[in-house]
Amino acid sequence: MKKIQLIAITLFAITMVAFVSSLFISGFQVSSETINSHLDSKGMKSEILKERLLNEVSGVEFSNSFSATGKIRSVFIESNAIHEANVAEHRSNKEWDKSNDERQNIAKGNYRDFAYDLMKPSGNGHVHENKGLWLFLTFGLASIASLIFILINLKVLGPAGIKNTGIYFENNTSKGWIAWVTFSFLVLFYIGLYFFPSVIINWTYIVDPVKDIFGGGGASQWFLYGLLYCTAMSIMGIRMIVKYRHNKYQIVRTISVVFFQVVFAFLLVEILPMFGLPGVDLKNAWPLDYDFLFDWNVTNLLANGHFGKFVFVWGISLSLVIIPVMVYFYGKRWYCSWVCGCGGLAETLGDPYRQHSDKTVKAWKFERYIIHFVLLFAVFMTIWTGYTSYQQVYHPDMDYNDKVTLLGISSDTIRSWYGFLIGSVFSGVIGTGFYPIFGNRVWCRFGCPLAAYMGLVQRFKSRFRITTNGGQCISCGNCSTYCEQGIDVRAYAQKGQNIVRSSCVGCGVCAAVCPRGVLKLENGPEFNRISPDNPIVLGNEAFTLNSDITD
């Protein structure tokens, strides 16, 4: 059995090597037609850019995405630099007309998307020509290998029960080199995904055959991400269920969170556009869905008939009504560990790393500052972008600068900073990339504005709590160790106090790993939900501190 597992894990490692090497072994040849049509469609007028692309890029055989990206990058930047220098020169000569004309030649956007758009239709290497084979070699074999490994655990790990043996000895789960390799892979993956999509373009070829099921047109890096996300969550979800198969709460919760990811965040997003409808993730709620009030989203929804308007109203009611009401009844867990995609990845792919969250009081203080700062940031950004969208819809003829400027600050500036700092770096690179080192809920704990919002409701107006079972706590520390949100659960349990913390996502693992049956997640009356700071734990009759309020 263990030998088969060893073979499976080796096979998995090979597929990962294949996946990474696919970036390096397949080349590009950009045709002049691609260049011309792309420049035309984007309205890029620069002759310098066009000429240099036709001379230096078109027809050149690039051996991998790095060299192709590098070349396009230098052409793009150098062309823009020449035009900018010309603009400056015209301006210093006070030739305003010339300067305005020249300014039209500066290519808008960034070279990264530009390179992606030129390269996507231009692949010609082994990966590009054998997409199906590579899909099997990477996604296919990796899934098979992991499933074999996971299912054998049913036998190898013995009867159902807590399976944390060796977590602090195993390389991967105790910050050994495997954890650091995983960390590097994830961080680089996210940097590629968010900032250098053209570099990982071969991976999008691999999933093109899957995209074909949904109407084709070539997979974007976001399709790749979505498919990878769903695959990882499904397989690691099965692992979660195998690991916690004695615990029905964990089984039901895991099925739910994987279901919402696969159906709502992936399938519907892909299927709706096949019927001419906007591909939206209906469960993604503002302020986690921070671009909800961006002008392009609002205009897109309002332009899409009844369905678009429904989605717009649904989004607003989800954030303002459904979420607080649900948090009141069930705590924020209904979202964070039952529905949310970020939470779902954390609970499945991230489960082996949950013990790395920092439990110190210091970390808790830091958490409270930073997560509420992000919430404020999101609210301000939404006010600004909402203002812009409002003007866009009601005063479409207004000058662009007036539309984006409110109180002297540009909504474009705020939203691009938010998108970069919070949307990409915090939630992706740090939030997921750092799983193996800082634990699986870094984003949810320190960065998610929706978690902060729901946390406020959960802390002050909710029926949810983790009940501490009288005097049964033995202070062993399993609950705190395995709390992915870094809550020192034991600190409450050993005092006989219920745990009512804004950051609790209700994963239920503290209650699962407790060897004495001390903790229970439940929804009940608000009365005495937050236990008084009673110094005496149940079981000691020597004191009658509370006698005056009993019966």
Binding site: I167, K248, G471, G477, K520
Partner: protein, 454 residues
């Protein structure tokens, strides 16, 4: 001048006492411990060995807690106490003088004078040092079979620590033979049904459980280390490790020969007062001259240590308070099966007691209720594999509820995680068929549950 309260021992009893003194007063508090610098949860040592946690995770308070709460820590062993001059001699350290002294020095594993009991490779499991020793005596996690230092271990004594040690050793791929003197597991505490259930589960985990077997002699090999043992029935078992887990006894060796009254433990009255002025004893090391009605004169579990610490702190701060621990409760875990007990369930029913035992068809859950035959008064409950709500059961015991009341209100008492299958209808049906009662189950009521915590 500020009163100086010195506590020897930083286990749950001593530390709880110190914390509650600090809540109530400004006295100077010093805790002396030779075992570790900081308080840790003794019950969690097994999880460190199994790799569930690191040692630092077993510390219930961050290291800055002690300074913040003005509790001085001294890491050292006390060698001698002079009760007349109220001073302590600390090995490799200065003398410490006290105004009040609390002895919370814990216990140590029993050794019953077996031949070979002090050989290398023979050990108990109680202290941090025992854990370190176990690491030395065995091989690291994940060691390949041909390089294992220990192929087989023999554990002597079928109680809670024994089963924990078995669980620990199994995670290092060590084969375990478990010698139990009685004819059932933990026979002096568990009734037959529960003992059988635990026995089956231990065997399910591939432990070689030998009931009615007693250790006779431990033999050493040529290297001076344990090589095999002989049982009283003459069976030879080859092994490289022997775990002695036949209970614990008070750690009072260093107090002998002085003026302090000792028997098995330090003799105290119900205020934890010893025969020496301003000297108190709590926790595992204490022995009541007169036990609280219905309880033992030595109580060596986590919870009683904590209750004693809470109670003594009141006395030390001027509010003289008797030990009054309320209804007995305890808990443990046998591999994957959790166990809780509330009130009194004895291995054999006492006179006038009746019991009702229910076991799930898969044999991994059971409940055992004990009640007075004549009045039906509920006396206690053992539960395996099903969690119960302490406050509810405690309240039912307080109000002397009858057994049919307890059964019909099982839904209030259930503490299993959400979505778990509830076995209450099955339990009630079994109860009705085994007795003359006709119990109808009540729905779970938050009103009833919360009236307790009002």
């Amino acid at each position: 001048m500020q009163e100086h309260i010195v506590i020897i021992g930083n286990g749950i009893s001593g530390v709880t006492c110190a914390r509650h003194i600090r809540k109530r007063s400004d006295s100077k508090i010093t805790i002396i411990s030779g075992e570790t610098e900081h308080f840790f949860s003794r019950t969690a040592l097994m999880y460190v060995y199994m790799g569930h946690m690191k040692f630092e995770h077993t510390k219930p308070y961050e290291d800055h807690f002690w300074e913040k709460n003005r509790i001085d820590l001294v890491h050292g062993f006390v060698e001698d106490i002079s009760y007349g001059t109220k001073t302590l001699k600390i090995r490799s350290g200065e003398d410490v003088s006290y105004d009040k002294l609390v002895l919370a020095v814990g216990s140590k594993p029993n050794k019953f004078g077996w031949t070979g009991q002090d050989l290398p490779g023979v050990q108990g499991l109680y202290s941090y040092q025992d854990l370190e020793l176990l690491e030395q005596n065995t091989h690291p996690y994940g060691t390949p079979e041909n390089k294992q230092r220990v192929k087989r271990a023999v554990i002597v004594g079928g109680g809670l620590i024994g089963v924990e040690l078995a669980e620990m050793l199994v995670t290092r791929n060590i084969k375990v033979t478990f010698l139990v003197r009685e004819n059932k597991f933990w026979g002096n505490v568990l009734p037959k049904g529960e003992g059988e259930l635990v026995k089956r589960h231990i065997i399910e985990h591939h432990i070689d459980l030998k009931l009615e077997s007693e250790l006779d002699v431990i033999h050493a090999g040529e290297d001076g280390k344990v090589s095999h043992i002989m049982t009283k029935s003459g069976e030879r078992i080859d092994c490289e490790l022997v775990g002695l887990t036949a209970g614990v006894s008070p750690n009072v060796e260093f107090l002998k020969g002085g003026d302090l009254a000792l028997q098995r433990g330090i003799i105290i009255n119900q205020y934890f007062e010893t025969n020496q002025k301003d000297v108190y004893a709590i926790g595992d090391c204490a022995q009541f001259d007169e036990p609280v009605v219905g309880r033992r004169n030595m109580e060596q579990v986590w919870y009683t240590g904590r209750i004693m610490g809470e109670t003594l702190a009141a006395t030390l701060c001027g509010e003289k308070t008797k030990y009054n621990p309320g209804h007995w409760f305890n808990s443990a875990k046998f591999f994957d099966i959790e166990y809780q007990t509330y009130g009194w369930v004895f291995a054999n029913n006492r006179e006038g007691e009746k019991s009702f035992y229910w076991e799930h068809e898969k044999g991994k859950m059971c409940m055992h209720f004990v009640y007075e035959g004549s009045t039906g008064k509920f006396l206690g409950l053992n539960t395996f594999g099903i969690r119960m709500r302490h406050e509810v059961i405690n309240d039912q015991l307080n109000h002397e509820r009858s057994i049919d009341y307890v059964i019909s209100h099982l839904a209030d008492a259930n503490f299993d995680p959400e979505f778990y299958t509830l076995h209450e209808p099955e339990i009630a049906a079994a109860f009705n068929s085994q007795t003359d009662y006709k119990v109808q189950l009540k729905k779970k009521s938050w009103k009833r549950i919360l009236r307790l915590s009002k």
